[in-house]
């Protein structure tokens, strides 16, 4: 048996893999990261798809990245720079619009124009959501205890969780229980009457999930997206300098500075098992690397069903992993544009009002533009997808990175990132070029209703379906969270009961990505928590 050259090998150079490697190296371990693609970042990459136009291909905003990770890995020193998105602008079919601004008073004025009642309710709602996000946050930093286990560690974890729940006020505890179990439509109907407000807010409840806003469980996903934090300010989303690739670059830089060795173009074929322990990996080209532990930052399906021979796992466990839901539901349209799309309000009174909020007509293009006029609109988009069709009128979340970071496109030109839902992975008849063209056309014709000049401005287009996410970023099912944030796939059930503590039934083999607790987004929590657990086992 060859002597292990490394303490740990991390499969996958996405943000979680790199964060995991960085934390292990920080504890003095010799770590090797193996990335399948020629570039690092997984789903957090920036690529120049057309000469001069740089796309933040998959993930496109930052906010969920845990602040303690930014601090502990000193990411700003390694080049991380987050540019805040100042607004979310929802254009409406009737030429009006609704916007939320960084300035609270502006948002209030804006809402008041649509509904005085909603403007009043907004403050209470925002306070509730912040309180709820604060209440959930400690749970995200916890290794989920298994309620069926009698091991001292799980019992202690359960005791801590119960103690924590008991420390919440009765009111907050009930509000949290409601929030976790209800639909985002019900939650928002309780508070607001303006369709565009409810539509835009409900959209965060469906992202990465194959459910409509009327399905129970979506309020939790909405809360998950509230967890974002930049400089301690809740609910602030930002765009990284150089796109999501910029985040990856800073983490890579930090990891390398801590001594992590990284190899790209190194697709892993199999995990080597010796004496019932993970002992290294074999690459597709036949190279072998040996280590004391192997960490997978791939999704659970690849981690357990592809990299390791099934004989090393109990049948029950494999069934649970096969049943883990990874239905991709979103796609992207990345556009290179010769001019800015014109989303400005067509209604003169709305335009006057917008000018009173911000004299600069370009302000709204520095923030997010959301095509989400009502809950019903999104629910209907879901109806198409559940029968295997891309939504004819989809929910679209747009940012124009070149307005925030001019280095992203040639002068005067723009890149526009459109996150689109719903785009089913299992599209009827499978994904063909015609299907992709149809999906792109659905998006463009929807956008055209709000920005009539859009079509003629397009000089380049990259269409990404869940099948493309699977092929390029290597995520099974193309699910951006490595597994839907469904209630039965969270906490001690993620990715499978008994195995929510980043360990796996194969000793020496760990899971450290979004498919583990606490789940998806460019958050990094799974990478860090897994590193902590690995180091505990080292002793």
């Amino acid at each position: 048996m060859p002597t292990p050259t490394y303490d740990a090998i991390v499969i996958g150079g996405g943000h979680n893999g790199l964060i995991n490697a960085a934390y292990l190296a920080r504890a003095g371990k010799r770590v090797l990261v193996l990335e399948r693609r020629p570039i690092l970042g997984g789903a957090a990459v920036t690529e120049e798809i057309f000469p001069g136009y740089r796309f933040t291909e998959f993930s496109y905003v930052v906010s969920l990245l845990r602040p303690e990770i930014i601090r502990e890995l000193e990411l700003p020193r390694h080049g991380l720079k987050i540019l805040p998105l100042p607004s979310t602008y929802t254009p409406l079919p009737n030429g009006d619009y609704l916007a939320a601004w960084a300035d609270h008073d502006d948002t209030r004025r804006e809402l008041y124009r649509h509904s005085p009642r909603d403007a009043d309710a907004y403050d209470d709602y925002a306070r509730l959501m912040v309180r709820m996000a604060m209440a959930v946050k400690p749970l995200l930093a916890l290794v989920p205890p298994d309620p069926a286990s009698l091991s001292p560690r799980d019992l202690l974890g359960l005791w801590k969780t119960a103690r924590y729940a008991a420390s919440l006020s009765e009111k907050d505890l009930y509000a949290l229980a409601k929030l976790i179990t209800q639909s985002s439509a019900d939650l928002l109907d309780d508070w607001f009457e303006t369709d565009a407000l409810k539509g835009t807010k409900s959209a965060s409840g469906i992202i990465g999930t194959f459910l409509g806003p009327r399905s129970p469980g979506t309020a939790y996903v909405l809360l998950h997206h509230y967890m974002g934090e930049i400089d301690g300010a809740f609910r602030a989303w930002g765009f990284a300098k150089d796109g999501s690739g910029g985040v990856t670059a800073s983490i890579t830089h930090a990891a390398r500075a801590l001594g992590v060795e990284i190899r790209t173009d190194s697709p892993v074929k199999q995990v080597i098992v010796k004496n019932g322990r993970a002992a290294g990996v074999a690459l597709e080209n036949g190279d072998e690397f040996h280590a004391r532990v192997v960490v997978s930052a791939a999704d659970p399906k690849r981690t357990f069903l592809q990299f390791v021979e099934p004989k090393y796992f109990p049948e029950d466990f494999l069934t649970q992993i096969r049943n883990f839901r990874v239905r991709g539901s979103s796609g992207k349209l990345n556009l290179a544009l010769s001019e800015l799309p014109n989303f400005s309000p067509r209604s003169p009174s709305a335009a006057r009002f917008l000018a009173s909020i911000t004299p600069d007509p370009l302000t709204l293009y520095r923030g997010a533009v959301s095509i989400s006029p009502s809950i019903e609109y999104i629910e209907r988009a879901y109806d198409d997808a559940k029968y295997g069709q891309p939504s004819r009128r989809p929910y679209i979340d747009i940012i124009i990175p070149s307005m925030i970071d001019p280095d992203m496109a040639p002068p005067g030109h723009h890149v526009m990132s459109c996150f689109v839902q719903y785009v089913p992975y299992d599209v009827e008849g499978g994904w063909s070029d015609e299907r992709k063209a149809q999906f792109a056309e659905n998006v463009i014709s929807t956008l055209e209703e709000y920005a009539p000049n859009l079509r003629r401005a397009i000089v380049g287009m990259q269409v990404i379906t869940p099948a493309d996410i699977e092929r390029i970023a290597g995520i099974t099912g193309g699910n951006i969270f490595h597994g839907e944030l469904l209630l039965h796939q969270l906490f001690f059930l993620r990715p499978a009961p008994q195995w929510a503590d980043f360990r796996t039934p194969l000793p020496g083999y760990y899971l450290a990505a979004s498919g583990a607790h606490p789940g998806g987004g460019v958050m990094g929590a799974a990478g860090k928590l897994a590193a902590q657990e690995i180091l505990k086992d080292w002793k």
Binding site: A148, Y174, T181, Q182, N323, D383, L486, H488
Partner: protein, 512 residues
Amino acid sequence: MNHYDVLIIGAGHNGLTAAAYLSKAGKRVLVLEKRPVIGGFCVGENDTPALAPFPRGILRPDIIRHLSLERFGLNPAPVSTDLISLLPGGRQLVLSADTAKTVDSISQFSKTDAARWPAFVRFIERAAAFLEAAYATPIPRLPKFSLAEGIPLAQLALKLRALGPKDMHNVIRLLPMTVKELLDEWFESEELKAAIATLGIHNANLGVMSAGSAYNLLHQYLIRGGSSPERNGRGWGQPVQHTHQVIAALEQAARAYGAEIRLNAEVARIMVENDRVTGVRLHSGEHLAASTVLSSVDPKTTFLRLVTPEPLDPEFVWQAQRIKMRGVTAKLQLTLASSVHPLEAIRASASSSVFIIAPSLTYLERAYDAAKYGQISEKPYLEMTPTGNLLSIHFQFAPYFLKPSAWNEETRRILAQTTWNTLNEYAPHLQSEITNLKSLTPLDLETTFALTEGDPHHGQILLDQFFFMRPLPGYADYKTPIEGLYLCGSGTHGGGGVSGIPGRNAAKSVLA
């Protein structure tokens, strides 16, 4: 003036169950019923059983025992019926308590599924048994409860653990799932999955692809008589017991234990002084005094109409306003020319069976899509219960909140026409037999049976209205913010269905 210890509003099955328990314990009880008949939604207008929203139901066995209902004419161990799915081309699928019979029927569709059926039933039985234990457990106010209050909770947790790690995980995991996900994990036959999935959407404003529909499946299985040692696997069809028989036995028991029942006595107000209940005022203007009042009426009506909002905390009122009712069920009754079994031509032997039209999961999901946008399903999920020459039809989805207009004669006509068209497709020979068709829209359910928004469960069976959140967070112990006022209807913990659980639990809470 008569003095009563306890006034109970509503003589439905839960009001009567509570009355029987309390009078048996020596309390002087008066039950006040607004209709001229006893039985709430278990008994139809003009006493026609088939047009009752719940034509069949089954009380939990311990209630039958405690109240000696056998002495009052109730068959303690009724046989349950088969659930027969009528499929295109005259095919049928039978789900029965008789495992061999079910396995045989399923094997026409899939041998693999037939082989998995017994294990699936065992799992659902264990899960439903846990749900039943949860429904029998008094839930204290969280998070700060006394040690004494914590004991039943701890016992419940031990029961959950006693399932063993695998089942425990599976039960917890099941509750928030969609019924489609659950069934996809077990079976491959679309016909079988759809038939089982009807329990997941029955009376619920949910589709087979809505999260939480698996919990409703478990709840329906339980209230159809499943999950208890003597009833293994019996939760598929509806029990043979007609609810008017259940009501008759409960009424006799309550009276025998000393309870009085007044008909045509509609309560206008629950009287409150200094946060304490003092009695009720009837519509006639009469005042009745008592220090304990139980309302079997739904929580929305109780808190928003019978108690004036003044004694209640505004936040409490806000939450009560938001209890989700949103009925989606209509009921129809067909009278057939002959007393021959209405579906005899397609199945002669199943005289007491329940028939469903639910050919596929997509069919059911599309039926639900209509309800999301306030429309009557064009191709509805139907459940048909024959009684003599009457056929009671459960129609879903017919939403209470119709768009653009509310329920009227035109929409009632559409409801009948849609039922007619659907029957024509799946049971064509019926057409010539029909002599009369009556319908109860969700609006009728509200006006006739006092079911707010036409919801037979007094509050949807949803995860956010479950356990310590039913009827309202912090009030799962049948108490209310008003001292002496209790709830005992279906809108409370364990409620929804003709199980008697809330009536029993509320009586225990009063006596505790």
